[in-house]
Subunit: 336 residues, 2 copies
């Protein structure tokens, strides 16, 4: 099954024509505490392992999509038209082409993303989730969110987790067609939890996550042991969430991230997303812990760090990281 | 068998009293191209795997040892008396106590080391090799160098490789008493080979190699795959030396070092010897290669990098690393 066949199958009973002038959808960015790294099927973005994330509240992508009577899609990002030759536009165009089963052939897509794009801050996750969600609104699909999550996943694996706030597990699934590989929100709230964005560099990454994952799986001498490590960490993280054991949650998440980056270092050629500032930041986090402040980090396919801490420690954390952008993932939420 | 029993056994037929007023010995520092990381026996410093190094010519330790009629040893490093309470002095005292089978109970030890001590520049390797060698001269032991190598190993594992110039393999051995675990020099010369020391920090490391190894073996989820990786790299490196294939040698050595540091990142707690400057240096090395200059790095239990390149590329390498300390390991040598 390829992507287009998966889309056809999922939308087999849905309206084929737009039901509105436009569809609008917001999807939060998400930060994996237990990482997704390595695809068992790169066409369908099916992972070797389940992963688990926390969504970033108001940070994410808001997309408005409209039919567009022209030979080309018109894609705008944060108000600027994106050249159709860029890989950004081509990925969106290829994705929209999967939905070409109706009278509409091209679209106007306006996306506002309030985090840096392509810098390991989950912009493609929230971007594809918002796009799938906006299409759903435009066509008035009546689909469970798990199906939207699959549709998002076909654009970017981690988009499967960007359809909910709070903690979300992306269950890897076992079937070859990926119909059991989608996000599942956890019902646990944790109002005291804080995420801090420590941004060193907002330039697009030198190697895409897609390429980096493929290279890691193909060449790391250690990749064969990653799935077992992942499964163990996922159990520990879910247990920590259920019992509000912050140290267990954050320690496991930090180790999980370090292990993912260690794997990349052992690829041929090696992949190193960290900058000198990243290392300095890690060391500062460890110094904080030595001084008794329970703060941890996680890192994705980019140089920036995301800090994990509790509300009570905000002043101490800000003292060490004055420029930190702080997010309260559960603020004002009764349910995820 | 403990260390003292190993020493007694090795010196069973040797003179028990000094034959001279003093013994003097120089041992070069050595940089592993295929690393030693993890002990199958930490009392006897027996490794899980064979390793392979290149010696640093004139850089190393020169030790003069004399009987000392006092209650304590008197240890001097680069002309300065070292307090007997320091861990540096205590390691040497414990080592000398292994040789307490004669009329001499204490020693005066003068060591000159012309590389930074304790900063991952193999100072303990050359230090213990020079100490064992100097004892041999003082007592006039008639021992093959392989036995001296075992005696050095009992002080510091990698000292086993510091009894020769050029390339040296430390054969891991299989026996429980370590009598087959010693250095073996390779006869290959490679006059064009250059080593560059890129020194960022000469402070002693925050975690000793001994502790770091033990932590890695005990907690890294990937350590079980390290021996196979090591064996494969050793074969590739020996093949590269035999055929003077510089890229194969240096690429394998760089990957081997990155893999060792990746393993450490996955320990609990994580071990990170790199500084921000280390990362900057790695990236600069990779930029050089992208520009067509074949230069590679290796890194030991410290933040400094050791560059590998050929004599013809010295001007290009110096243009990128003006402060590089360059070593010609085979200069003026007919045999290792």
């Amino acid at each position: 099954m390829n992507r287009a066949e998966a889309v056809s199958y999922l939308l087999r009973d849905q309206p084929k024509d737009p039901k509105r002038d436009e569809g609008v959808y917001f999807a939060p960015a998400n930060i994996a505490l237990c990482k997704y790294w390595g695809k068992r099927n790169s066409e369908l973005n099916l992972p070797y392992n389940s992963s688990l994330s926390i969504s970033l509240q108001q940070y994410g992508a808001k997309t408005m999509i409209r039919p567009h009577a022209d030979r080309f899609n018109r894609i705008r990002l944060n108000g600027q038209v994106v050249d159709n030759e860029t890989s950004f536009a081509q990925k969106i165009t290829a994705y929209l082409a999967l939905f070409n089963m109706c009278s509409v052939t091209n679209y106007s897509v306006d996306t506002e993303i309030n985090i840096p794009v392509g810098a390991g801050l989950a912009s493609s996750a929230c971007g594809f989730a918002a796009l799938a969600g906006a299409l759903g609104r435009l066509y008035d699909w009546e689909l469970p969110k798990s199906t939207l999550s699959i549709l998002g996943r076909l654009g970017s694996g981690s988009a499967s987790r960007s359809f909910w706030h709070g903690f979300v597990e992306w269950q890897a699934g076992e079937s070859a067609d990926g119909m059991d590989s989608f996000g599942i929100p956890l019902t646990h709230l944790w109002p005291e939890l804080r995420i801090g964005l420590l941004i060193f560099n907002t330039l697009a990454k030198p190697v895409s996550s897609r390429e980096a994952m493929a290279l890691t799986v193909a060449t790391s001498p250690f990749y064969s042991l990653w799935p077992a490590k992942q499964n163990a960490d996922l159990v520990r993280i879910k247990e920590a969430i259920a019992t509000h054991n912050f140290n267990q949650l954050a320690e496991t998440a930090e180790h999980n991230a370090l292990t993912m980056h260690a794997l990349m270092l052992t690829a041929t050629p090696p992949i190193l997303y960290s900058l000198p500032e990243t290392l300095q930041g890690m060391k500062e986090v460890w110094h904080c812990r030595q001084r008794g402040v329970p703060v941890y980090f996680t890192q994705d396919a980019g140089p920036n760090l995301k800090l994990l801490f509790l509300a009570k420690d905000l002043p101490a954390v800000l003292a060490s990281f004055p420029s930190l952008q702080v997010i309260a993932p559960f603020e004002g939420r009764d349910v995820a």
